[in-house]
Amino acid sequence: MTAQLSRRDMFRYSAVGLGGIALAGLATGCAPVAAGGGSATKAPPAGPTNFDFVSWGMSEEATKPALQASVNAFAKKDAIEIATSSYPFNDYLNQLTLQVRGGQFTGAAQLDVAWLSSLAALGKLDDLGAKAEGRGYTDAALQAGQIDGKQFGLPWTIAAIGLVSNTELFDKAGVSQAPATIEEFEDALTAIKGLGGGIVPYAASTKTAQLKDILVWMQTFGSPIIDGEKCTIGDAESIAAVTWYKKLFDAGLIAPDVDRAAARALFSQGKTAIYDDAPVARASVLKASPDASLGGKMAPIARPVKKAGDTPQELLWGHLLVVVDGKGADTAGDFAQWMTSDPAQTISYFTALGLPPTTEEALASSAVSGNVFVDAFTANITKDAKASPLWKYVQYGQMETAIAEQVQAVLIGSASPKDAMKAAGQKVQSLIG
């Protein structure tokens, strides 16, 4: 076969093709993306259907077995198949956002309480109000899953992120009781550092991924973070908090390169005396520790206050189950309801992982009330826990990153606390609008 194509012909064909592609690309760029279908009304299928479930729990060795067993139990009960997928915690929100926005994911999803605003903004979450009715959730837990009165998430576990200490290291350092004020806290850290052996007294977050922990210290120093619609970062209190953090860093009382995973690793090896975590930590720390008796040495302590008599500042923490509208959504809603409120399921899940349940019945059970660690965590930390003032903003992730980068700049000495906090405050304010 022979054909002659002039170069001009080839250019012409190419130009037409590329022009078409360019127009299609631009048109798509201009075209409004379809609004979320979360509230679309359609008849639910007659019986249970297969659905997808995405979580970060399945990517963590400590939680995977119990979570997989729960998923299997529900699938068996309704004779359906649940396709599971997972992403690591630090990448989870990005991946889930992309999947939901692109319409590639529908079904049930695990969600951190801090992420609800961001995901709900996509307009694809089902209102689970009907599924929450009469299930006995505590009011505080239900509120953690609400936005503007709509129940976008069913509360799975609600607690706080607080300070967890190693009592053995405290005793060795001669610190007989938990420090109640910042001053006592510093003294305790200095005493622990005196033990030597490369111990990091306080494995505070210094990597950007979890440097958001600084916010609760800013609140401890008296900065509200948000006042009305105004960001207060850059005020004297937030500057004092970051100056103090830098002081701890320079004195070697906190260490570089620490995020939650590194802090857990240090704690499990007996290389740190205090770090910030939620009750879920206990399972993973104990699993990774060579010290079989570490569980008995783990004590949750209230965050020190600036002056005696202040209320400790603690950050609310929890997981929700949300349902992304689409194929299998109705059964996914049933699954979310069962996982979070079925009495037998919630108690067995708590027994396996130590994650505090969210229903009155489960909380009153002997399994929960008899758990010394969770009981102490609730009494010392969770009782004072509050949601972060940034969570209500869709751009909260961007805000926390902006603050974290400025705090990191202070720690490495490339910015003063005053300049850095001013820059962070301005960035957050620009995101608030």
Binding site: L5, G29, P32, L98, G198, K207, A255, D257, A265, Q398
Partner: protein, 309 residues
């Protein structure tokens, strides 16, 4: 008229029947090209144009819809630390190009000599190149970690340091760590390319130069380098282009930190789009980044053409 002839050259057709047959053959060729073109369009061109189009819209990853803003996103990006980002990208790119080139050239010169174990070493030195970039990055993260890293452990065992060094938490050492990690991954490729070029250098020239009294350094610059200069230039240019768009080592090892000081175009575009949910500014940054890359590609094409001539 310049023509592209496919198959055996024929006389120019004149009759309407021949013209019809020719057109149908053209259609057939177009049909053959379609699958490949469709793949190119779907996987490369459409996503590229779609993301470049974002540069001209205020568009969020979270909210539906987009609003035309013209060049505002580009202006914002240029005014908001673009020069700093370019400088950080260039520091990484130049470092991660020069270091593997020097290491690769040195090894190629050694492995071009005949000695016992030479074949084994040629294979062994390829291993870092065979390991996926992400795995390499995690490996180096473990080495450089401040609290349980191997490097600090070794240095402390040797009593060279008393307290651990936070390699990834200091701007200069973090940049150095990134360059070392990336160079470790890419020097074998440089080595292989230069070794191939070295084997084209006629041995007689070396012998003649040696007889004339030229030492090893003189022989390298007078005989070896002129023969491998073309390949070396190509290798440097390609490494530069690849490093200019490199992502995984930086993302895994430092995430652009500390305090954004190792952020490059690649990681900044990712952060803007997927952490800031700001597709408009990410698209604008991508547009500028692609413009700079196109300059490098033009240099590469010119360089290749000159080599062919």
């Amino acid at each position: 008229m310049t023509t592209t002839t496919i198959g055996r050259r024929q006389k120019k057709p004149h009759s309407s029947n021949v013209r019809a047959a020719r057109l149908s053959e053209v259609r057939f060729i177009v049909l053959l090209l379609l699958p490949g073109t469709a793949l190119l369009v779907g996987v490369v061109l459409y996503p590229l144009l779609r993301s470049l189009a974002s540069a001209f819209f205020a568009e969020s990853l979270l909210y539906p819809g987009a609003t035309w803003v013209g060049l505002q996103n580009v202006i914002d990006v240029l005014q908001d630390g673009f020069a700093e980002l370019l400088s950080q990208t260039l520091i990484f790119t130049i470092g991660a190009t020069i270091v593997p080139f020097i290491v690769g050239l040195a090894l190629a010169l050694v492995l071009n000599e005949q000695f016992r174990g030479q074949r084994f070493l040629r294979g062994a030195f390829l291993i870092p190149w065979l390991i996926p970039g992400v795995v390499v990055s995690f490996l180096w993260m473990w080495i450089f970690d401040a609290n349980y890293g191997v490097l600090n452990g070794v240095l402390m065992q040797l009593h060279l340091i008393d307290t651990p060094i936070a390699w990834l938490f200091n701007t200069d050492t973090a940049r150095g760590a990134l360059i070392i990690a990336k160079s470790w991954n890419s020097f074998p490729w440089v080595m292989v390319m230069l070794l191939a070029a070295l084997q084209t250098v006629p041995g007689e020239l070396h012998e003649a130069a040696a007889m004339d009294g030229a030492g090893p350094i003189r022989r390298f610059f007078a005989v070896t380098w002129p023969h491998i200069a073309g390949v070396a230039g190509l290798v440097i240019l390609l490494e530069f282009i690849w490093n200019f768009q490199h992502f995984d080592t930086i993302f895994v090892l430092t995430g652009g930190g500390p305090a954004g000081t190792t952020q490059t175009f690649a990681t900044e575009v990712y952060d803007t789009a997927f952490k800031g949910y700001d597709l408009g500014h990410a698209g604008a940054l991508g547009l500028l980044w692609m413009g700079l890359l196109l300059i490098l590609v033009v240099v590469y094409v010119r360089f290749s053409e000159r080599g062919e001539k």
